[in-house]
């Protein structure tokens, strides 16, 4: 009996839905088997937090009068900011690898030959990249949360509500970086160029634009302004570089998500394989 006949009568939509998680798992397999990428990712999200809290504990132990406990709300806020910055770097590496991995290796052609829709091939990359980046970021976050609570001493420790909000905000920042890098690398077909461009934007261009006061409210269009304004108010002393409303921030984040995704998907569907 052919294997075809056993499944020929399954509704097409069900078959398509059943295949999607397999595609996502396959994308995840490709990413997690890149040992260098996984090592760098966890090094970026775990090591700095470990080092930061070890230093804080050492300072407090050496001079308790001068240096307060290593935990507490302020240190949680500071380490979360550090985690977001470095997590973005990891997210960009993962997103760019997920977006251009198949094209770079030549396997995209082999995937297209299966008859699977190119849009589905593109769409499967996103949850896989997001999953790995978030796993690493949340591992760092868990460490931060535990350290800032256990080591709070006489200081106020972050509450459960703030921890949940902080984890959600971190997911937003990481997710946006993944989307940008993945979309750009899918569109360009080049991992290295995408990494250069997105890291340049995140670490140099956007911070520079933020400092140009002459741009006024145009700066509200920057994703970093939007994500900062959506951060829990208890973090970062409630200060933001450019004040903006929540609704504007949500629209800006949506635009920075949907437009790059549309460009990446369109290019994936149209490129010669």
């Amino acid at each position: 009996m052919t294997t075809t006949s056993a499944t020929a009568h399954l509704p097409r939509a069900r078959r398509r839905a059943a295949r999607m998680p397999r595609l996502v798992n396959a994308e995840l397999l490709k990413l997690r088997k890149r040992r260098g990428l996984v090592l760098v990712t966890f090094a970026l999200t775990l090591l700095p937090i470990i080092i930061a809290y070890v230093v804080l504990v050492a300072l407090h132990a050496a001079e308790p009068a001068k240096h307060g406990p290593a935990g507490g709300l302020d240190n949680f806020s500071g380490s979360l900011y550090l985690l977001a910055q470095l997590g973005v770097v990891a997210a960009v590496l993962i997103g760019a690898t997920a977006g251009a991995g198949d094209i770079g290796s030549g396997v995209f052609r082999e995937l297209v030959v299966t008859g699977r829709s190119r849009f589905a091939l593109f769409a499967a990359r996103l949850p896989a990249a997001f999953g790995l980046a978030l796993a690493a970021a949340w591992a760092g976050f868990a460490l931060t949360a535990v350290a800032s609570t256990v080591l709070a001493g006489s200081l106020e420790a972050p509450g459960a509500g703030l921890l949940v909000e902080g984890a959600g905000w971190l997911a937003l920042v990481i997710g946006l970086a993944v989307v940008l890098a993945l979309s750009l690398s899918s569109a360009l077909g080049s991992r290295s160029i995408a990494i250069g461009v997105v890291l340049g934007l995140e670490l140099a261009v956007m911070p520079a634009l933020l400092q140009i006061r002459a741009l006024g409210s145009l700066r509200e269009l920057l994703p970093v302004v939007a994500t900062d304004s959506l951060a829990p108010s208890a973090l970062f002393d409630g200060e933001v570089a450019v004040p903006t409303s929540v609704s504007v921030a949500v629209v800006v984040v949506a635009a920075w998500t949907l437009v790059p995704l549309a460009a990446g998907a369109w290019r994936t569907c149209k490129r010669d394989a």
């Binding site: 490709k30 088997k33 297209v112 299966t114 699977r116």
Partner: protein, 324 residues
Amino acid sequence: MSIDARANGRKADAPAFVVETSGLTKRFGDRVAVDDVDLRVPRGSAFGYLGPNGAGKTTLIRMLLGLTSVTSGTMRLLGRPVPAERAAALARVGAIVEEPRFHSHLTGRENLTVIAAAREPEAHARIDGALARTGLSQRADERVKRYSLGMRQRLGVARSLLADPELLILDEPTNGLDPAGIREFRNMIRGFVAEGRTVLLSSHLLDEVEKICDAVAIVDRGRVVMQGPIAELARGGEETILIATSDEERALALLGENRAVASAVAEANGIRVRLRPEVKAEPAADDLGRRLVLAGLAIRRFEPARASLEQRFLDITSRLEEAA
């Protein structure tokens, strides 16, 4: 793998041709890579798409598989119009286009898992069978970066088998293989055909196509200049007989007078006699032999000359070059 199903032969409603193209054309700017190609690949055969490098073979395959767009013309794969029903058609097509490519950081088995994920759920169950079929079971859990070229080619075939293909499209599959590898590949392809699958093999190697394929399309500068069964094409519609006698001059004179003979040319090992296309070969050959004996000539050699596809191919392409 559900090899048995293929061995049972063609389904009643299956189309006679697994690939049909009509007026298929691809242009890159002013350059025409594939020019008005009408191709018919019969089901259950090994079909060679033969032409020199740069003749547009890979471009045609890339169009069939949806890897590049078509400038004009229509095509059907397994009876389904593409690109309209591309997904359904490609579900039963396996292909190696140019050099097979893999994620080198993954193992052979993981690479197959990645491709199986894009195919129907049953494709996963075919992974072990495909690896065994291509002799890669023992090395399946090694990273592909350690594979030799021959192993990569075999892994490419294993990947194609995940579709349980009715049609296998192989573009220059023996490139870079050593003679033993080529022989193994040839046997594998014949095995697929024996199971009822169709193999479309693109190659610039005449000898390879002649040894593997049942039928062939000869392509030159983007155009299919001839297609059909290899024996028929090689003959070019004419039967040829090689005759050696005790007196070549008299034999030449006798043969030249015979109405069934198109030409008789003396060669080092005898006289090459070409029969006219309209005559029936066997009675005509019988008659020639009888006449030579009746004329008192001793016949030392009388055998049908095996026409070579290579000779035919060179004839056709050189004629085209002269015309150009």
